[in-house]
Symmetry: C2
Subunit: 423 residues, 2 copies
């Protein structure tokens, strides 16, 4: 079994897909909210009608993946069982029900010369999504892009190629059945890595690249891209237990922030504890009881025999595992300084009953998401009420934190005059 | 006379300047509006007090430039006479009076679990400005960045180096006198082109690059930059005279859009005239009378003996001169199609008394600025009420059109809880 063999050069392939995407994007940009929603519901129906075909394709992916000895975790991410399949379709239907940012007026003003100005949200255009293993991204990312009026060029991982193609086929036929352009969602038909390179350098063809995958993918994208990138890098997140933290909240939030799911980018990786905090031992014990490996300096080790030695490297490590580095700090300023030196700018939380300290933390810590008395695991588009997310941006421009429909739009200035010439 | 000789490698120089800028940015981010405004007023005062020194430095730049045989236009852009000097200082004082975007709440929501979310504007961080000749950019860009809480690393053109250094010295001393960090504004001390390269690749050190200059500068920046860029490319702008345009408005707006100032990026470069428009001859005659060279096809030439032949290349040319390409089109759809094919996405205008056609144009044309019955020469931050502008963005992300203080900020999510753990 090999990939579709292509005579076309990757640059020509992406240029050609880009031209079709641009034409589709122009049509999508002019569709009403109702038309886009109907198209997504039709796509969801088409996927549901193709359940057998999609699950069969997924079984084929899984079989090949097992044959190549992929890890259990990889196989699990790849697998579409009936429950996950239903979830994927419900996800697309939920996106169809989200408020449409396109056409929203951001602000308006009238100038002394009578010119009326308004900024109105419009789609970005053509968005390239580069992702790995999880086939549900094909439906999810395609639907999010389309609902915001953008055409998507998807490049999934080779391990999910049959699943992706089957999902895409259904998606496109559903869109088309509802009068939307099938080219709203395209899938790069080759697993040639050069196609990724061609996407990353397709300036003017693709308006934005969103990588969804592991560190090596994101790193490659950030190094090679000539097209703007909406990337999330590591989530080296901190929870700081202030001297005036409630002991019970401190314990619960430390455990939840680290252990609810250790593999998500919103998981806490370093716990900072104010030396003025009354008794850290129950916090450490609760983490150990929950199955967490703790790493800390001599002062932390002195409080719990399970604590292993920490190295300098630990403070800059995203474990994505049941491991937590723990450090005692001299109050909030020391905590903020540690975060400034080691955070990846994703999510940080303070646990305290001191509102003044909390506001200082919220205003001073320079991360996409800053929290007070809440688990860092809430860092998620769904939890933020966005309905979905295309990713969590740790970049500083355009969008930060969870990015959903609004982050997939830009704006234009509309100026209405009555014949004004500029003096 | 040579540049400051540096032992330091450009990368090390930019890294070192970047570290000082980052420290300054952290302080600026925590300053109140009043503190920032006072610092800018103090900087304005320090510049005023240094008038003799700055004008002397400018005279030295002019002398060297004349010696190297720079064109009259270049010399004019370089020159600071007392009136321009006063204008530069008034510009800084005006920026000090602008509404501060930092700390503004974009939106807020409360989740069913009681978490309170808000998005709050924060500075971007460290901004690199690369510019040519006009020395007033040193004061203007530095002040805009600082007012939005950002530190600026400036890299001016070699022809203005004495002026820039003198302005910078005064600026920094003024900021410092008011308790603001002098490193809020730094000037790259070498004219070595490798320093520009080091800025463009200083990912993580510089958060945003703003090029202000000619095409070759912007092109270099867009090719080499690893850091996000807020660039404006060409302003290949169109004015479309609809069949239902008022003849008098059509004439006035065509002349003003092209001829008010031909060298600005908001100038119209192509005039599209609906074949249904009653009589284009007075429009063409008024342009010719105003000193404009017209280029058009046989159908346009047939109406006015002054019209020269147009080539395909003309439709993609930003003349920045008293030259206008003119084309007859078959109604608004044809006009929109021509714009889609040839516009640089900067500014386009429709002249019509037909509100429906106007709204179609405003909603369909995919440029940063779209206008109805107004001169494209209004495309300007000051005219839009922004008080100033760092540039006009033709990119699609983060900011479009005139970019002022708000465009020099980003946002973060603040989440306030009462101990919520994620289920």
């Amino acid at each position: 079994m090999t990939d579709t063999m292509l005579e076309t050069k990757p640059e020509d392939l992406i240029a050609e897909m880009g031209a079709r995407a641009r034409a589709a994007a122009k049509r999508l940009a002019q569709m009403t909210t109702e038309e886009k929603a109907a198209a997504l519901r039709s796509a969801a129906k088409a996927m549901r009608d193709s359940e057998a075909e999609i699950l069969e394709a997924n079984a084929r992916d899984l079989e090949e993946a097992e044959g190549r000895g992929l890890s259990g975790a990889m196989l699990d991410r790849l697998k579409l069982d009936p429950k996950r399949f239903a979830g994927m379709i419900e996800g697309v239907e939920a996106i169809a029900g989200l408020p449409d940012p396109v056409g929203q007026q951001i602000d308006e003003s009238e100038r002394p010369n009578g010119l009326k100005l308004s900024r109105v949200r419009v789609p970005i255009g053509v968005i390239g999504i580069i992702y790995e293993s999880r086939p549900n991204v094909t439906a999810d990312a395609g639907a999010l892009c389309a609902m915001a009026g953008n055409a998507a060029i998807l490049r999934g991982g080779s391990e999910a190629k049959y699943s992706n193609r089957a999902i895409l086929k259904a998606l496109r036929s559903g869109l088309e059945a509802a009068g939307a352009p099938a080219d709203a969602v395209q899938l790069v038909p080759t697993q040639d890595r050069a196609a990724v390179g061609a996407m990353l350098t397709a300036d003017g063809v693709i308006d934005l690249i969103v990588p969804r995958g592991g560190k090596s993918l994101v790193a490659r994208v950030q190094t090679e891209a000539r097209v703007p990138v909406l990337a999330h890098l590591d989530g080296i997140n901190h929870t700081y237990i202030d001297g005036k933290a409630d002991p019970e909240k401190a314990k619960q939030l430390a455990v939840n922030s680290k252990m609810r799911r250790t593999g998500v980018c919103g998981a806490t990786e370093t716990l900072l504890i104010d030396k003025a905090f009354a008794d850290p031992r129950p916090v450490l014990a609760a983490l150990v009881d929950a199955g967490c490996e703790l790493r800390g300096g001599a002062d932390v080790q002195a409080l719990d025999s399970h604590v292993l030695p920490v190295t300098e490297e630990d403070w800059d490590t995203e474990y994505l595992d049941a491991i937590l580095s723990v450090k005692f700090v001299d109050g909030i300023d020391d905590a903020i300084a540690h975060i400034a030196a080691h955070s990846s700018g994703h999510t940080e939380a303070i646990v305290t009953e001191d509102a003044e300290a909390a506001e200082k933390f919220l205003n001073t810590v320079d991360s996409a998401i800053v929290m007070w008395n809440a688990s860092t695991q809430f860092a998620d588009g769904g939890e933020f009420g966005l309905g979905a997310e295309i990713g969590i941006s740790t970049g500083r421009l355009h969008a930060r934190g969870p990015v959903a429909l609004e982050g997939l739009t830009t704006f234009k200035w509309q100026v209405r005059g009555t014949g004004q010439a500029r003096p």
